[in-house]
């Protein structure tokens, strides 16, 4: 690895970590309700929608409202996609989107997956991009953070039935956090040359080619900050209008992990023990950092499918960041990576998107793993396990089991059905183990709400669209629902005081155990599938 590559990777990690405390502390104030400078606007939203932001919600109420709200969003997106030809801001006069494609897109954006089975610049009108997709980019991200806040409240509460109010969490996260950050980032990106207009596509004189236009910057900003990842253009952040310069690249790749990393600190603040947040962040970094360096090593000298303005190091960092977080935007084509270079993004998604993961959702997934690790550790020291003073009992284990069950089931089943169906195999560009990797990647991405594509696989067919739609839905709510159930159950419990018999969960020992649990569960479920894909390809 060259010195400049090393420097770029270290600079990235340093800037990212420097942001953790300020952003994390700010988010804690957003979520605990102590920030009020936008009070009038906030109250206006509540009054217009007729909700009481102070009304306490039980976990079932919270989960119910979350589900209905996201379902309404899904239907709205589906509706707009189906009638976009009747709506304004459609200079290229795109027709309505296929029902199965629209079904997949709608679930994809409401679940924060942002898997794209369409080309943005050849399918969607400007209004669709803004009103359907960008709106979901904001609220799906805010929904993830809201669930995390509810879980943190469940852990901090004593003998309480309430885990907060979903409407307040949603509104405050959007208003105080996502909107200001997105506006700032969009302006910076416009400064670097990212376009923002409603113009018609520009024909290139003397050729058949047209240059697509559109309100790009406003969508790119939230796509990165909200771990959405759905690009305005088909090639996502490899497109020069989405990501024109190394500086815009740096800003975007920082934005991918900014909120997921800082939320660890926020979590520590919310549960009144900052060390717990640091321990979770450390566990994520222990998996993330070595993989960044390995990826850069594997991709060194392989420029196929990469943009020369970013080079291999920046492409490697991006690939690891975007799959560690459930972002899924790309600045290079993962299909063209070396077999082992492709294995790392694939594996990171299969870990269940808990190494950073989606905003909110990654961390609540990691907390579930912490609960499982604490359960095993508790047994090993001869005591009913506790996490943050809350006893972990049969109900919590039942819910945690549901969470770890989902990714393997949906990813493996989806892949298995697709590789046996002629329709599933029709869109395959490569044969052999690489072709298998392409399908496995597609379902790993959808089942874990990542949304990145390996490329090379034409997934826009009714089979993959519907299987994938179901996988994305389950990947999101089959996890969020049990997490909220755990939050509700823990909130009701009393807090056990810390003593010498208590197993501390902020120590390097526990962090190591947590890393081990994440890797072991991910590895054991996917070793056979990985062996038949990237591993055999690497050995060939």
């Amino acid at each position: 690895m060259s010195g400049s590559d090393l420097f770029q990777i270290c600079l990235y990690l340093a800037v990212l970590l420097a942001c953790v405390v300020p952003v994390g502390a700010y988010m804690a104030r957003v979520l605990d309700g102590s920030l009020t400078f936008l009070g009038p606007m906030e109250r206006l939203f509540y009054r217009v929608s007729g909700v009481d932001p102070a009304a306490p919600m039980t976990w079932t109420a919270y989960a119910g409202v979350l589900l209905w709200f996201n379902l309404a969003g899904t239907l709205a997106v589906y509706g707009i996609l189906r009638v976009q030809h009747l709506l304004p801001l459609n200079p290229q006069s795109f027709g309505p989107v296929d029902p199965h494609t629209a079904f997949n897109i709608a679930i994809s954006f409401a679940t924060n997956t942002n898997w794209q089975n369409y080309g943005g610049e050849t399918t969607l009108s400007y209004l669709t991009q803004m009103l359907a997709l960008t709106v979901q980019n904001f609220v799906s991200a805010a929904s993830g953070i809201a669930v995390l806040a509810a879980l943190a409240r469940g852990l901090a509460a004593k003998n309480s039935t309430s885990i907060g109010n979903f409407w307040a969490d949603l509104t405050r996260t959007t208003l105080y956090l996502l909107l200001p950050l997105s506006i700032g980032l969009a302006l910076l990106l416009v400064g670097q040359g990212v376009i923002q207009n409603f113009d018609s596509y520009v024909p290139v004189a003397g050729t058949q080619q047209v240059i697509p236009m559109g309100p790009v910057a406003s969508q790119v900003a939230i796509k990165q900050l909200g771990t959405n990842g759905g690009g305005f253009f088909n090639v996502n952040s490899a497109h020069p209008f989405e990501n024109p310069t190394p500086v815009s690249n740096f800003l975007q790749v920082i934005s991918i992990l900014l909120i997921p990393a800082a939320l660890c600190y926020t979590f520590g603040k919310l549960v009144n023990d900052k060390r717990q947040g640091w321990a979770l962040l450390a566990a994520m970094l222990i998996i993330f950092v070595p993989l960044v360096f390995l990826e850069a090593q594997f991709e060194q000298g392989n420029l196929e499918g990469k943009e020369v303005r970013f080079g291999t190091a920046n492409s490697a960092v991006w690939a690891v960041a975007t799959t560690a977080a459930s972002n899924g935007s790309v600045n290079s084509m993962h299909d063209s990576f070396t077999p082992l270079g492709g294995l790392i993004p694939l594996f990171l998604m299969q870990l269940g998107e808990v190494v950073f993961g989606g905003v909110g959702s990654g961390l609540y997934g990691m907390v579930i793993f912490a609960i499982i690790a604490v359960f095993l550790a508790g047994l090993m020291v001869g005591r009913t396990p506790e996490y943050l003073g809350k006893k972990i009992e049969a109900f919590e284990m039942k819910m945690a089991s549901l969470v770890i069950l989902m990714p393997p089931v949906s990813v493996l089943l989806g892949t298995a059905i697709t590789v046996t169906a002629p329709m599933g195999l029709a869109g395959l560009q490569d044969r052999g183990p690489h072709g298998f990797s392409e399908i496995l990647y597609a379902f790993s991405s959808m089942g874990n709400n990542n949304g990145s594509a390996f490329g090379g696989y034409g997934a826009n067919n009714p089979l993959v669209n519907s299987l994938g739609g179901v996988a994305m839905f389950l990947g999101r709510y089959w996890v969020a629902w049990p997490v909220l159930a755990i939050a509700g159950s823990l909130a009701k419990k009393k807090t056990v005081p810390v003593g010498p018999g208590t197993l501390p969960t902020h120590t390097p020992l526990f962090t190591g155990l947590l890393v081990g649990a994440v890797l072991l569960v991910g590895m054991l479920a996917f070793i056979p599938a990985l062996a038949l894909g990237p591993v055999v390809e690497a050995l060939q």
Binding site: I404, V419, V521, I527
Partner: protein, 684 residues
């Protein structure tokens, strides 16, 4: 003696293991049920292969099949072994549950007319009379009479005990025998609910319900099983795709998939899980503690506050007089003489020690009270003094405040130097006993509590393991503080009353702590019922025994510490074997994956890091290892992991190293060894 070396238990367990193949029994354990289904499945495939239409060589399929059956049998065997000792004990107990004729009294009074009824027909509230040589028909409360009773059938202790009406020794157990005199008993239990019957059920494990932690662990194991079921089931379509793409080899066989599945699912812990639970109950029984539920045993491991009675647990039962502190104007000899006179009729150990001290110090000989015409004044709860009226003197001894009230009522006063001496004795952990003659205070006797040897170290160990000890005593706060300091307990409750005990337990529980206590008296019953782990002494009253969730047949209050350790052992053994079981999977993948795809993707042979002889031998070796490791771990499951009183983090580090890292490494060596052996014998 270890059950493993007892041939009758081992022999019985072998037969039990076969009987437990009943699918209804296996269905209770999801992990082992999957293995059973796999065994049946491969057997069918093997028979099919014998007919010439098999997916692989019949020897290979049947070889796998046989070892899968062994895997199930080994699990059953472990459970049967754990039950073995309890079964033998239950048989002995059952013999003492005989059908006796009871003499039911028409009036609750000795000598009233009776009818003869079968013991089994007695109802709660009936009154019976039992004479010497007869068996007590049912659990009950003595309402009249006193007798010596042989309780060896239940406690194993051959010395007879006294049972009498009133007080804390009034409870009798059905199946025990009256040796002398007679008893009138009010029946407190109905047929089928007696202590003996509950004991038999517990010992046999017939009523064994899964404990909360076991349920939680079972859920996790079931989830892992589903994950592995997915991982192996989807391998079939994956391999069909791979064969089509590569254009060579055969899709992976169902036999190999079943073998892989059984190797991956947590069979080690699945097979041993119920044995660990039963063995935990059994260890309690060996310690002569009868737990009324497995839940209580498990809760014992979680206890973080122990309430211990001072007397008998922390200190030797008897306080001893060690010094006489005379008031000004009184000589030590005068005080000793009066103190001895007041104590002559006092048969308590404290009273005896006063007499002895006076004799040792000043050669004051015991006098014959009757010859002196003395009148003994007994201790009552109201006066809280005792003493003697002799030769016109009224000598009294008692607590400082009661003697103070006594002399002031007679126009005397309590001298300040004595008040000071009282406080100083109390501060040193002694009990001051003030002696007065009429209205004049003569001085103080210093009664000292003797703290048991080694108890301080024991408490320090507990503290390191995160368990706090609270001493319960009726002493005044000063005395209690001094003894608490000497014994090294974390806290104390002085001047304890049943209400204050109950309140203390509630307070600690509200803080989120789990409280354990021992008790024997009826006034302990509310606190016992409130405590999370409540150990009633077998010598205690029926009320205490019913309120507790464990009964200590030895009636030894220090037993609580042992109970906590047994509870912890049970959890630790489960945790360690779960970790071990899961960690084992890494090596099994390395053995089976290259073997399963050897024909389609020979490149995967690079993952055959153990250099196993052939694909068949690799798969068979993994399956054999998986079965044998269950047998190898049976002794550990029955014995439990040794408990060390060290901080949680230290314990975790140790167990992660042994069972986590060891669990990853051991199967590499084990599978290689089996593979070498198989190829050496030319069997593969």
């Amino acid at each position: 003696m270890s059950a493993l070396s007892d041939p009758t238990i081992v022999g019985g367990a072998c037969w039990e293991a076969v009987k437990k193949l009943d699918p209804r029994h296996q269905a209770k354990n999801p992990v082992m049920f999957v293995v059973l289904v796999g065994s049946v499945f491969t057997t069918v495939l093997g028979i099919q292969a014998l007919g010439g239409h098999g997916e692989a060589a019949p020897s290979f399929i049947l070889g796998i099949s046989v070892w899968l059956w062994f895997t199930v049998l080994f699990g059953n065997f472990a459970e049967a072994m754990a039950e073995g000792r309890g079964k033998a004990q239950a048989d002995t107990l059952r013999k003492s549950r005989r059908d006796v004729q009871a003499r039911k009294l028409t009036q609750p009074k000795y000598g009233s007319p009776f009818t003869v009824v079968a013991g089994a027909d007695l109802q709660r509230g009936d009154v019976v009379v039992v004479d010497a040589g007869e068996y007590i028909p049912m659990d009950g409360e003595v309402i009249e009479g006193a007798a010596s009773v042989d309780e060896s059938a239940i406690t194993g202790e051959s010395a007879p005990v006294i049972r009498e009406s009133g007080g804390d020794r009034s409870s009798v157990t059905g199946g025990t025998r009256v040796l002398s005199d007679w008893l009138v008993i009010r029946v407190t239990a109905e047929a089928g609910q007696s202590f003996l019957e509950r004991m038999i059920a517990m010992v046999e494990g017939a009523q064994r319900q899964k404990t909360p932690n076991e349920i939680a662990l079972n859920i996790l194991l079931a989830a892992l099983t589903i994950v592995f079921l997915m991982a192996t089931a989807t391998l079939l379509p994956f391999s069909i795709f791979a064969v089509n793409e590569a254009g060579r080899g055969q899709p992976v066989t169902v036999t190999v998939l079943v073998a892989l599945l059984v190797c991956l699912i947590p069979t080690t812990i699945g097979a041993l899980l119920s044995a660990i639970g039963i063995a935990g109950m059994d260890r309690m029984l060996q310690a002569n503690v009868l737990a009324m539920s497995g839940r209580a045993v498990e809760a014992a491991g979680d206890v973080d506050v122990l309430l211990l009675d001072k007397t008998g647990t922390i200190t030797l039962g008897n306080r001893q007089a060690t010094a006489f502190v005379p008031a000004s104007g009184v000589t030590e000899v005068q005080l000793a003489d009066a103190a001895q006179l007041a104590s002559l009729a006092d048969e308590t150990p404290e009273g005896r020690s006063v007499v002895v001290l006076a004799k040792e110090r000043f050669q004051i000989r015991e006098r014959d009270l009757q010859a002196l015409g003395a009148h003994f004044v007994a201790f009552t709860a109201r006066t809280r003094m005792s003493g003697v009226d002799v030769e016109g003197r009224q000598i009294r001894k008692g607590a400082a405040d009661s003697i103070g009230a006594h002399v002031e009522a007679r126009g005397g006063s309590f001298p300040p130097d004595i008040r000071q001496a009282v406080e100083s004795i109390a501060r040193q952990g002694g009990t001051p006993l003030v002696v007065a003659d009429g209205s004049r205070v003569l001085g103080v006797i210093h009664l000292k509590d003797i703290v048991k040897g080694g108890i301080k170290e024991r408490f320090a160990e507990l503290r390191r393991a995160g368990i706090k000890t609270i001493m319960i005593t009726g002493d005044n706060p000063l005395t209690a503080a001094a003894i608490a300091a000497e014994a090294g307990v974390d806290d104390y409750l002085a001047e304890a009353t049943p209400e204050r005990k109950l309140q203390l337990i509630r307070e600690r529980q509200a803080e989120g702590r789990l409280v354990a206590m021992t008790g024997d008296g009826t006034n302990d019953a509310p606190a016992l019922a409130q405590a999370d782990v409540a150990v009633a002494m077998n010598t205690g009253t029926q009320a205490a025994k019913e309120a507790g969730n464990m009964v200590d047949l030895d009636s030894n209050p220090t037993k609580l510490i042992e109970i906590v350790q047994i509870g912890k052992q049970m959890l630790m053994t489960r945790g360690a074997l779960t970790t071990f079981s899961t960690a084992n999977d890494v090596a099994k993948y390395f053995a089976i994956i290259p073997a399963a795809f050897a024909a389609t993707y020979p490149e995967l042979g690079a993952l055959n890091v153990m250099h196993l002889a052939s694909p068949e031998s690799a798969i068979l070796s993994a399956v054999i290892f998986n079965a044998l490791i269950i047998v190898a771990l049976i002794p550990l499951a029955l014995r439990g992991i040794q408990y060390r009183p060290v901080p949680a983090a230290e314990l975790l580090q140790r167990h992660l190293l042994i069972y986590g890292v060891g669990g990853v490494l051991l199967p590499f060596a084990g599978i290689k060894l089996i593979d070498s052996f198989l190829s050496l014998m030319g069997w593969v």
